[in-house]
Symmetry: none
Subunit: 416 residues, 2 copies
């Protein structure tokens, strides 16, 4: 089954609000095998919505509309549905009682204007709203389903998950359609185009399924979309594809789905009962902030030093004056001394460090903007690697951060 | 002038990504008087995009397409534009050199597949992309404008603000329409509803113009939309409104437009030639990371310590064992000692500190999740304030961060 989502509201069209409703609905429908093929945002005018309903009746099995169900004059969704389906409203007493009880719970008397929300199209079913006064509307006509929901996210979301999904799943299974599965692998340390080249012949990897490359500033996500006859087939196909991708580019994969590298790393540290400290120069505290973002990080994270000045590098981390003079602050030697220094200071099992030139100024021919050394230290060894992370401050900082976390993760994997 | 935004990408249709690109574009176009009347999200298939282009040519002055401009097999935007406009590509050497230099800056050789990105439609103008390899495309036909941009936000956004807005403003002004001006004031430390009450009678402040309250987790933005006959009128009206708002809620305003508090603070420190250091516990490095985000921060930022463990608080910051025992790590006394300690360690003019309970665990009846002490220290005084920042880890960390930066900003304002 396919679907269209219609979002109504001027606040979306002037960019005041990001349309997270549509992605929520799309994700939930996709999870039960309903593919959203179109999302449209329109203003709350009669013509715009009527046009969309006409298109829906021709092309889409399911149409979900959000917004425009409030009690005021500018809420047009219900009147337009009535017009389009040549229907009238009838008072639904159960709905009216529900609305009254909501006001009572807030210790308020229901304003007269809200009675209009209990007037339901005669040919519709009610979608109960437990978190607000606007009930949803479910209309089935010529085997097409039309659903209207309020635009307020915390009202709309439970209506989707608790009422609409179970009901739609019934329809979808009766029609005996294919099983959809969407999985994501996360890579870092490689560009989209290099990754693409590494894959070789894409068809040999994915066959009739789909593979999408989704780059962001520091990672590239690989989304695999499987379309099979059954759940069993889908899982088996996915496993084969994952194996083939790992053969080609396994070293760049750090996680899957919405996982964050700091999360993967945290689990690993917890499991191995090890502790970590961090010394940051060019990343300025971002590595530390990411680690602390994860609940429970105090179990393995002891803390860090952001040594932005040379003085701090010497005093707080014990970097040698001689190393700073001879090699400069941005050097392999200083990165190593920072990692070692912070590990000794905090008495942690592992430490990572960064020193580099984030720009826009401070670069030179021999040490250009984007040059970063990432240091590593444990009780057996200390070293630093050299990287070039591009030309903008944001990119340098975020790539250095994720690369440092990934370097530590790879070291951890080798430790039993 | 009116506009349509077309977002391409299956990751949007399966709800994997929220369409923040479309709202960014809508907001920016609105700010120069171009009203987006339709936002559509479609899959990357030929038919879907061709249909949209047909509709655009009939109804919209401007069409902005994002996504599908990468170098891989599933990037279809350029081929479809060529087909629709019956055009061919020619190699643009300047673009090719730009792409090559991007790879060079990363110390990589350009993969052959990227040459395709320098092949531009012969009837198009290039929209330069300073942050990635996919140039944008600008096509003008029958007085309609068609713009194709990459879908990666940090590539797309500067292309809109630096290139497209100035160019479109020219067209819009030639058509002699009214002048729209949209300005934003940024507030922190006050809730949306309290701010609304402080304003009193909104009509007395804005007259026939518009004022929107836009809350996010740690700040509330006030957007003022002016619609006047001329630019001069618009600016004069705005100045009056800004003055009235500042009379009502000036103490909560920390900046305007897209300014960040760390940016405002950085300017102030630079101007006064003062230095800063930071001691963080519950904010885990986020204050430091925000400060370092600002180019040139090495002029005033000396560094920080993230003392996540008690041991680190004692050893690196000189917090007294007795204070930790008597008052606990999350206490006024420890916040003060952290701020003092880090200031002395780094020999900075100012220092701020945080210690609190970010959750989800670690809270108690007397010290619940959300409790945070923020410390301040300069050569004359040291103190700490107590706050409650809500119930989720993310909220506690981000509110504590912005409140600490704002506390320092207010102290700086009092120093001549």
């Amino acid at each position: 089954m396919n679907a269209k989502v219609i979002s109504i509201g001027d606040e979306l069209l002037i960019g005041q609000i990001v349309n997270s409703n549509a992605s929520f609905i799309a994700e939930k429908l996709y999870s039960i095998g309903v593919q959203v093929q179109r999302i449209v945002t329109i203003s709350d005018t009669e013509k715009a919505l009527l046009d969309e309903l006409k298109e829906s009746s021709k092309k889409f099995d399911i149409t979900v509309i959000t917004g425009g169900l409030g009690p005021t004059h500018d809420d047009l969704t219900k009147p337009i549905l009535l017009k389009y389906f040549k229907d009238k409203t009838v008072l639904n007493k159960k709905v009216l009682n529900k609305i009254k009880s909501l006001f009572k719970a807030r210790n308020q008397v229901m304003p007269e204007v809200n009675v209009s929300q209990a007037m339901m199209p005669s040919k519709s079913e009610v979608i109960w709203n437990n978190n607000g006064t606007a009930p949803g509307i479910w209309i089935r006509k010529n085997k097409k389903i039309y659903i209207a929901l309020p635009g307020v996210p915390y009202e709309m979301k439970p209506m989707i998950t608790d009422f609409i999904l179970p009901k739609l799943r019934n329809y979808s299974q009766k029609k005996g359609e294919y099983y959809l599965l969407s999985k994501t692998l996360l890579t870092t340390g490689i560009s989209e185009s290099d990754l693409f080249e590494k894959m070789g012949d894409i068809n040999k990897i994915i066959g009739t399924h789909k593979l999408a490359f989704l780059p962001s500033s520091e990672i590239v996500r690989l989304r695999i979309d499987i379309k099979s006859k059954s759940k069993k087939d889908a899982i088996s196909d996915y496993k084969k594809i994952e194996k083939r991708i790992k053969e080609k580019a396994g070293e760049y994969i750090f996680g899957k789905e919405d996982e964050k590298i700091e999360e993967v790393l945290g689990k690993e540290l917890k499991k191995k009962n090890k502790t970590l400290s961090v010394a940051e120069s060019c990343t300025g505290g971002l590595i530390s902030a990411k680690i602390v973002d994860i609940p429970g990080s105090s179990d393995y994270y002891l803390g860090g030093v952001c040594s932005y000045s040379n003085d701090a590098k010497k005093k707080l981390l014990g970097v040698k004056n001689n190393s700073l003079k001879k090699f400069g602050a941005v050097s392999e030697q200083v990165a190593i001394e920072m990692a070692k220094g912070v590990r000794e200071k905090f008495k942690s099992d592992f430490a990572i460090s960064t020193t580099g030139i984030a720009g826009p100024t401070g670069g030179s021919k021999s040490k250009p903007v984007g040059l970063v050394y990432i240091g590593y230290s444990d009780k057996n060894k200390s070293y630093a690697n050299k990287y070039f992370f591009g030309d903008t401050r944001m990119k340098v900082i975020s790539r250095a951060t994720i690369t440092a976390l990934n370097l530590l993760k790879k070291e951890l994997e080798n430790i039993k």
